[in-house]
Subunit: 74 residues, 2 copies
Amino acid sequence: MTIEVTLDVMLAVRKVKSKDLAAHVGITDANLSLLKSGKVKGIRFETLSKICEYLDCSPGDLLRYVPGNSADEK
Amino acid sequence: MTIEVTLDVMLAVRKVKSKDLAAHVGITDANLSLLKSGKVKGIRFETLSKICEYLDCSPGDLLRYVPGNSADEK
DNA sequence: TATTTTTTATTGTTTTGCAATAATTTTTAT
DNA sequence: ATAAAAATTATTGCAAAACAATAAAAAATA
């Protein structure tokens, strides 16, 4: 089982560009990109809340629990 | 704005005791308690997913975005 | 084909998740 | 009440990793 980062979806829905979100959150474009592509193993609540604020969404819109202990694990 | 950990609610709903959840997730009772009481600044997806698995819920059931930049910030 | 945006890559700093342990407090059961 | 179980609080420590800073390549948009 895994947590999938669906930030890309919300960015599309809100039509916000990563660049702007990164600027608002106060993290680099590079790190936001890593977060978007699920190459991060966790997140600080401060970062998460800022993203929620800018995208006007909830944590559940950004993170998804994917059951099943087989595919793409690790 | 802040992220509120509502793990206590889900534990109550599922009638699961912290002890058991901690055992399943593989973290100490102490740390789970800290997480429950919102004394943690972030979470690893691996931990989050295991909690979701055991409680059969989604990240959105455990984390809540609380707008408003005033109270208990800091 | 410029220009902007995004991604990938590296190195380094610093925060902090979580372990381990133990003691105290609260809850549940006898 | 009181023993037992569960939960909280407190400390210390370490390894993991979030994130910064920077740069360059790739992709998208104008």
